[in-house]
Subunit: 278 residues, 4 copies
Amino acid sequence: MATHILLINCPDETGLVYRITGVLYHHGHNIVSNNEFVDLESRQFFMRTEFLGEPDSASMLQELRAVLPPSAMIRFAHTGRRDIAILATKEPHCLGDLLIRHAYDELNARIRAVISNHDILGSLVEKFGIPFHYISHVEKERTEHEREVLAVLDEYDPEYVVLAKYMRVLTPAFVERYPNRIINIHHSFLPAFIGASPYRQAYERGVKIIGATAHFVNEGLDTGPIIAQSVTPVNHGYSAAEMAQAGRDVEEVALAKALKLVFEERVFLSGHRTIIFE
Amino acid sequence: MATHILLINCPDETGLVYRITGVLYHHGHNIVSNNEFVDLESRQFFMRTEFLGEPDSASMLQELRAVLPPSAMIRFAHTGRRDIAILATKEPHCLGDLLIRHAYDELNARIRAVISNHDILGSLVEKFGIPFHYISHVEKERTEHEREVLAVLDEYDPEYVVLAKYMRVLTPAFVERYPNRIINIHHSFLPAFIGASPYRQAYERGVKIIGATAHFVNEGLDTGPIIAQSVTPVNHGYSAAEMAQAGRDVEEVALAKALKLVFEERVFLSGHRTIIFE
Amino acid sequence: MATHILLINCPDETGLVYRITGVLYHHGHNIVSNNEFVDLESRQFFMRTEFLGEPDSASMLQELRAVLPPSAMIRFAHTGRRDIAILATKEPHCLGDLLIRHAYDELNARIRAVISNHDILGSLVEKFGIPFHYISHVEKERTEHEREVLAVLDEYDPEYVVLAKYMRVLTPAFVERYPNRIINIHHSFLPAFIGASPYRQAYERGVKIIGATAHFVNEGLDTGPIIAQSVTPVNHGYSAAEMAQAGRDVEEVALAKALKLVFEERVFLSGHRTIIFE
Amino acid sequence: MATHILLINCPDETGLVYRITGVLYHHGHNIVSNNEFVDLESRQFFMRTEFLGEPDSASMLQELRAVLPPSAMIRFAHTGRRDIAILATKEPHCLGDLLIRHAYDELNARIRAVISNHDILGSLVEKFGIPFHYISHVEKERTEHEREVLAVLDEYDPEYVVLAKYMRVLTPAFVERYPNRIINIHHSFLPAFIGASPYRQAYERGVKIIGATAHFVNEGLDTGPIIAQSVTPVNHGYSAAEMAQAGRDVEEVALAKALKLVFEERVFLSGHRTIIFE
């Protein structure tokens, strides 16, 4: 039988699980999996409940509103495929990995379109029968370029926007259009390197492990809430170019893991942190 | 404020979380963390609830019995230190790691005693002011030796018996005295090697990763339900002796992780598998 | 400047490195990287030397023969792309990963052709402009089927044959045609499971780590010398199907790593073991 | 038969391996393991040769000087135990791990003494029969305190000084006394956190992996050349205190690995990087 998911985040108080599961019980839903976590510092309550049966969302929502604090975030989610759009630039590795997973239905998503500010990935994307939109940023103001990208995104109305090595910084205005719905993959090292040529810096520092971080994009210049991180060992025999290749492999792994978690609705936001029910 | 833990395992049916949390709610306990899992194959329900406040266990148990299936396993547990005894033979690495963690209160346990069928670990154990019992197996029947070990264990009445490289096979009669309360650390490889000289076999097979498995001991000859596994890479430059040393390091890691999970009451048994709420 | 590789394996004796590097020196080659290992058990000497400049292989070979034991294996190798053929059955994950890496020249190989005993992977392969040969095994004797496969392989004359989830056991006669030049990816667990439905067995056993092994194929029924192994953690929440998916991800990683090592000529065979100069 | 190690670092030129192994050959030494690496950027040559037999170091050194560039670093090393001293402050985990390994001869070192600026680790150290020196820093100038520490170190004349969570910054004058012979273990994260309360920062940032870095101490404020790094996964359920505990475990692993590599003479320095022949 199909399952659905109920997601709740609100200030903590006594009896929340009881009140919430009461609503599910009175509607006859059997709970398959339930995760609940209270962040003792922020006093926030998080709950993800997977249950059997098709929910009467409207009336359940009303009943839940009645028993939960007024500021509660309450959401019903399906467990089917998410509609997504991918933004890329020139690098094919993360995009290619997503296209193969998508082709064999291992992504839990429908890739509606790929948009790039360069045209070289077009032939790869089109092999898989997915619309490719080349929107050059050359000789355009940042906001003008973003307006064009947003116009194409609007056509597809994706639930999530995945930045698969999209090398342009998004403006706050763009990010606000997809709040906590943009996922990025970021090279990041131990110790972390920022600025240009991160793998060059890693090489010169002689690191023994390199890593990657998948995260939500928020308005800050800094990376947003972390969803997944992955690492791989390297050694002195790696040139800066070989470190970059190892980095690409680990970026694929972290991004695929993050998307799986997000698409299965396992990720809550708690300020700058994520609560993840794996 | 201190937390306590409620553990429940029973056949699944609709409304269990609601009924259970109702009892907690009516007794005024706020839930800090709640994990629930239904094994869809066996139709078994598992729930671990950590809550604030000192429970009135007797009356709550009665109320829970009234709303749960008759076969339900219901248990209240504290979050404090467990009383444990350790059985060892000659190898010091796992025992030493536990003694250091214990000395600095990182084990969430009180080591009441160490028992060995050899005497060479005595000086190590006594450095830490812990009773050491040397019970030789030489010229004794297996059951006679076990009777002597059990007699000493009885003095200390441990909640768990940890086999820290104890190299003797336990009889079913011994195991029945501590059902699902004996934890062992087992060298195990990819592919797995059994019989004598496992590291010699691993060396000859040229494995690239070696591992270790911490598990509950049950009546079978086979290892019991797995609690934690850990691995480490090796290469052709490792002699069989060096593989064994790498194996010792990874055994320490897997055993320490398993004990942490068990002592925090995060481990349920489901037939031959474990359900672990990390 | 381009580099070349000299590979030597022979019984150990004093002065081998001196004699070998003398030949390189007198031909004016500067050594970029040199790895040498003596297996003290088998008394075998292994050396991989990467050097600058185009070698006069014929005369150097003659000079090396003159200073090395008569049984010495001596080989010059280039560092360019290897010609390979891939055998597959129905599963796309390892094949897809290799096709993407190939499309962006991250494989250090030219995929000359893909052969399968089913036709469903044809559309994927042909997206990338690579010849796909469907050779059904239905109603054919094993040797007859292999004869047809070998006939197609002969057309392409690959240096290596990669089994990317090819689900048929090869006969010794087939293996002898590509001695130590066939590389397979094998699901393998901790503890190892053989026979049908390995992931089902892993699920029932409740393992916490699953793995994969890339190895050379030899005449035995058993797996041949191990080249690379990779692992990933799983937990009780994984169904058998989800364990299989995690297994697919880790198979990709182990196979890609093994191919990189083999194509860079970093792998020696020593009986049933590999000596790998990473 | 015992092995010895020859270590050479010099500017690269053609024929170095030939000339060096010629000296070994003429002295009748059989090479067991040879690693050579040329850093193509800095044009530096690094070689580690493990050979059988007791070397006539003085005459071999003279012969090597004659065939190598004048600036060559040439060193003979034994494969036996190193004499070390440990500096600690209050935390017992790294120190305890080293003491246990030392007690069972798994450290390839003799711990000659432990020095601390606090006295609480004294009882642990003395359990193992190792001299403990408490040298408080209170009401002393930094240089005065260091002078006292150096005076005690002088008594023991250690080959290496291991900082096992020694929480004081060393002055350049101190570091110069043990050039590239001081090894430190540093908490470090993905992304890296500096300043006070690193685990608090990691918690607030919601990292999913934490790590540790073992490195040589040099004159800079920054960490010196990296020897080993290790990581472990964490999740939202970890409090800052639990992240710190996970950090302690991973610090032990990284430090033990680094010491093994250094004591086996597998680590070269190349500017700010290490070349490690594993």
